[in-house]
């Protein structure tokens, strides 16, 4: 029977060093930031050039950086120094940023859960990000990165427990500042500073992009908000603040943050502890390029069956009163005085398809998606904001989508209004859980 090859029409040449580098970079040998400095192997002899002078398969930098830059990196090496004493310099660095952030990752800590996990525990380990200068809590979701449109930002990752990255999702800098392990490099102990311009005002997020399937699920993400360039920005999470509606600045009194997530406790308490942080990455066995289905028994990162549902770090509890799975935390479920304006920033950080259903008393206006404001010149002049009532007061979104919703409560009756979030399985479309947020409007 005819075979359709995996490289049909575009043959993979294992003897082409650059193709080999790119192949191995897809999971088997993702270089870290120190590998990019140490091409000649002064500190790390594993990375010596091959006998014919061609680069080692891990030497991704020859296709990332100009030869002058590579030579300069190599000149910084001192034999005998520890790899973690080196920090990969940011290419095309501007010395003085307008704003700087630092993040390190949190691991090994657990959070209580309202009912037993698959292994019967009442707590689950979740990872996250914090500012290393700040307090440890809260780390899930990670501490928000909040900046002002147009600022030059330096965001430094100081990783712990192996290498990680930060991908600032929706922000579009150069590849080396984009934080994708398989496309560029992982950040090793010495750290790395990502350089980017604070993007168009809107809702973004950041997450680790190493073995993303696992690290994102384990909790390595946080919100990233770019505020308009107005006085007092960047604002405090929860409001008050200001956003663009089209080309106009609108003030809001309160800001609700709905980061919807789901957790498969198997991934947290079995996959990661038993198979390590590298679970699901690279080949198994000496020289192996892949791990087989049989070898992945017990890992199975294609199998995601969530048993917990979370909004901005708050676990939904079927036993909660007065409604099951009601989230009353006021950062999620705000209390408004009638006439005030509410901004809802919502992100789907789950691996399920989520539908938000608003009650008939509330008709939010959709002012932005994915950090792009409807009607705002120049790039969004082909669009305009729209009322959610044009689509039955519902929106359905998938992983990484963000919707920004503006609600003028002057037309909302006083009382408590419930907004349902239906989590549906990505394959079966089965309803897994309905979580409810509330908006309380006082007259």
């Amino acid at each position: 029977m005819a075979v359709i090859p995996r490289d049909q029409g575009h043959p993979y040449d294992e003897n082409d060093p650059m193709e080999r580098i790119m192949f191995l970079q897809h999971g088997v040998a993702e270089p870290d930031s120190f590998d990019l400095i140490d091409r000649a192997g002064i500190v790390n002899p594993i990375l010596l050039p091959q006998a014919d002078g061609s680069p080692q398969p891990t030497d991704r930098r020859v296709s990332l950086l100009t030869p002058d830059t590579v030579a300069a990196l190599q000149a910084t090496l001192t034999p005998g120094s520890a790899p973690e004493s080196y920090t990969l310099p940011t290419p095309d660095r501007i010395a003085t940023p307008d704003r700087s952030f630092a993040r390190t990752n949190v691991h090994g800590l657990t959070v209580p859960v309202p009912y037993p996990t698959k292994a019967g525990a009442l707590a689950v380990e979740v990872w996250g990000f914090v500012d290393p200068a700040g307090a440890i809590a809260p780390w899930f979701p990670g501490t928000t990165i909040r900046c002002k449109e147009g600022e030059l930002v330096h965001s430094t990752l100081l990783p712990k427990k192996g290498s990680h990255t930060i991908h600032h999702h929706g922000i579009e800098p150069t590849p080396m500042n984009d934080g994708v392990g398989h496309a560029t490099f992982l950040v090793a102990g010495g750290g790395y500073t990502y350089q980017w311009l604070a993007p168009d005002a809107g809702t973004y997020f950041y997450h680790c992009h190493k073995n993303t399937v696992l690290h994102f699920e384990l909790g390595m993400y946080g919100l990233l908000i770019s505020d308009p360039n107005v006085p007092n920005a960047p604002f405090i999470d929860g409001g008050p603040g200001a956003v663009y509606r089209g080309n106009t600045i609108r003030n809001y009194h309160k800001e609700a943050i709905w980061v919807l997530d789901d957790i498969d406790s198997r991934w947290h308490e079995t996959v990661q502890p038993q198979h390590g942080v590298g679970a699901g990455m690279g080949g198994t066995g000496v020289g192996a390029e892949f791990t087989t289905i049989g070898q992945n028994t017990g890992i199975e990162l294609h199998r995601f069956e969530p048993d917990f549902f979370v909004v901005s770090g708050v676990f939904a509890d079927p036993a909660s009163q007065p409604k099951p799975n009601l989230i009353t935390n006021t950062l999620v479920s705000p209390v408004m005085n009638r006439g005030e304006t509410l901004l809802i920033r919502t992100l789907n950080a789950s691996y399920t398809v989520v539908t938000l259903k608003f009650p008939s008393q509330i008709d939010p206006e959709v002012i932005a998606m994915d950090g792009r404001t409807f009607g705002r010149a120049p790039f969004m002049s082909y669009s305009r904001p729209f009322k959610l009532s044009t689509q039955n007061r519902q929106l359905t979104f998938t992983t990484a989508n963000r919707w920004d919703l503006l609600i003028d409560t002057s037309s909302v009756p006083s009382g408590t209004h419930f907004v349902d979030a239906e989590f549906r399985h990505w394959r079966t479309n089965d309803l897994l859980r309905t979580v409810t947020m509330q908006i309380v409007v006082n007259s």
């Binding site: 005819a2 029409g9 575009h10 897809h26 999971g27 579009e172 399937v213």
Partner: protein
């Protein structure tokens, strides 16, 4: 429209292996870099069993639509045509149970029994993106691999649609002609497919062993182990120029996103946000061409859903302006595009990132050699024997354009015009020669960008 003129069939690199049928066969509207041609009056397809190699070399049984004389591919070959043209497709079922060829709202072969050959004829529907697939024993036969794309072009392909809504017309008018879109207008040759499917090895083996098994037996407990984009995964889809996007800043491209599988995905593009142009339902056979253009970095794609996305190829907006072009970091700037519902990034339960992944490559800053000629209007007034044709070009002012009667660069020149300031050009002349061929071409004198086989409006 009768097709007595030369009819060509091409294997080409327009984002997938492709074939042009109907009158569209006579031109290379889509084909980059002069691909080989073959002539045939009718597209011949057969349904075949094959083994499909996953990125980790595991081979799975699949069923595919295979073009006569071609190798098996999954998805099947991309069929291109022009709105209104007649399409004839002769389909032979070389499998062991009944199958079908179906484009919702367009054509339905009904049962094609094992060993049987059926010819379907239909007129190419409204310009846009369609999915052909086997709708029998749904969804099993489709998910086993019996699917592929059909693209229909407008007669004047300034946008991918005929009479697009105002906002979309404005967007295409602005490409290459405003300060926020420096570079070129959209070139219809800049067309890619991101066509999704997934594979559960246990289910594929069961269907291959028992092709008449019920669809519910196939879908119950279905658990994908492999996730493909235009038939490939991971490294292989990231480095195939038919799947990964590439170009300089200022070369916008169209990506036709389609999902033949059973899973709702969430495409995420790094480096640029993209405009969503359409939303198609390949179950019901409906397409909405949008007048309110979202600019997204992630977009959902449910089973049998399609979205045409325009990737603007702008300078990545969050690189500091004083550091463009980068000095220390090298071109090409290589960004990923992946499904953000991350379990789809696996193969065989792990092997991240060997799943639904490709790349988006910015090869360099704006290059003045990337000029494009586009036609915005072409009209023949039969009563007066008068031809009017006009358009835009990103070539320098004064560049001489040749207007030709016919569908190729070697056809007769009927006049010349020049690119004016503002990037516009226009030509008016006698229409007699164009009437014979009913198509026009515009080429650049001395070689360069061209727009072939434009169908003028007859009045």
């Amino acid at each position: 429209m009768s097709i007595n003129r030369r009819q060509f069939l091409k294997i080409a690199s327009s984002g997938m292996a492709a074939v042009a049928v109907g009158a569209a066969g006579g031109y290379n509207l889509f084909w980059r870099d002069g691909e080989a041609m073959a002539a045939t009056p009718t597209l011949i397809l057969s349904m075949e069993a094959a083994l499909m190699e996953m990125s980790d070399k595991v081979q799975l049984p699949v069923w595919v639509f295979q073009k006569g004389g071609d190798v098996p591919r999954c998805p099947g070959i991309a069929i291109f045509s022009v709105e209104g043209d007649k399409i004839d497709i002769k389909i032979t079922n070389n499998l062991t149970v009944r199958h079908a060829f179906f484009i919702p709202g367009v054509v339905d072969s009904g049962d094609i029994l094992p060993g049987q050959t059926v010819t379907v004829s239909f007129n190419a529907p409204a310009a846009g993106t369609y999915m052909y697939y086997d709708n029998s024993n749904a969804p099993m036969n489709r998910v086993m691999g019996l699917h592929g794309p059909l693209v229909v072009l407008p007669r004047i392909p300034f946008t991918p649609y005929t009479n697009p809504p105002t906002s979309m017309q404005n967007l295409f008018n602005d490409l290459g002609r405003t300060s926020h879109f420096p570079g070129s207008p959209w070139d219809p040759a800049r067309n890619w497919f991101w066509f999704l499917n997934s594979f559960d090895p246990i289910k594929n083996a069961a269907a291959a062993a028992s092709p008449s098994m019920s669809a519910s037996s196939f879908t119950n407990g279905y658990l994908s182990q492999y996730f493909t984009i235009s038939g490939k995964s991971g490294f292989f889809s990231s480095h195939d120029h038919n799947i990964r996007l590439s170009g300089n800043v200022g070369q916008p491209c169209l990506v036709r996103c389609m999902n033949a599988g059973l899973i709702t995905h969430s495409y995420h593009l790094h480096g640029n946000h993209a405009y969503q142009l359409t939303n198609s339902d390949f179950d019901k056979g409906t397409t909405v061409v949008s007048d309110n253009l979202r600019m997204l970095d992630a977009w959902p794609l449910a089973p049998l859903q399609g979205k045409d996305m325009l990737v603007p190829f702008i300078q990545p907006p969050d690189i500091p302006k004083s550091k463009w072009p980068p000095v220390q970091e090298k071109f090409p700037l290589d960004f990923p595009m992946h499904c953000h519902t991350e379990p789809s990034q696996t193969a065989a339960g792990g092997n991240y990132p060997h799943g639904l992944l490709t790349h988006f490559i910015i090869t360099g800053p704006i290059n003045s050699a990337d000029g494009v000629v586009q036609v915005t209007k072409a009209e023949v007034r039969l009563k007066f024997g008068k031809l009017s044709i006009s358009g835009v070009s990103s070539q320098p002012v004064g560049t001489i354009l040749e207007v030709r009667a016919g569908s190729g660069a070697s056809d007769t020149i009927i006049g010349t015009t020049t690119v004016k300031s503002g990037g516009t050009w226009a030509f008016t002349g006698r229409a007699l020669k164009t009437l014979v061929n009913r198509s026009l071409s515009v080429t650049t004198q001395g070689g360069g960008p061209q727009r072939l086989d434009v169908r003028p409006v007859m009045r």
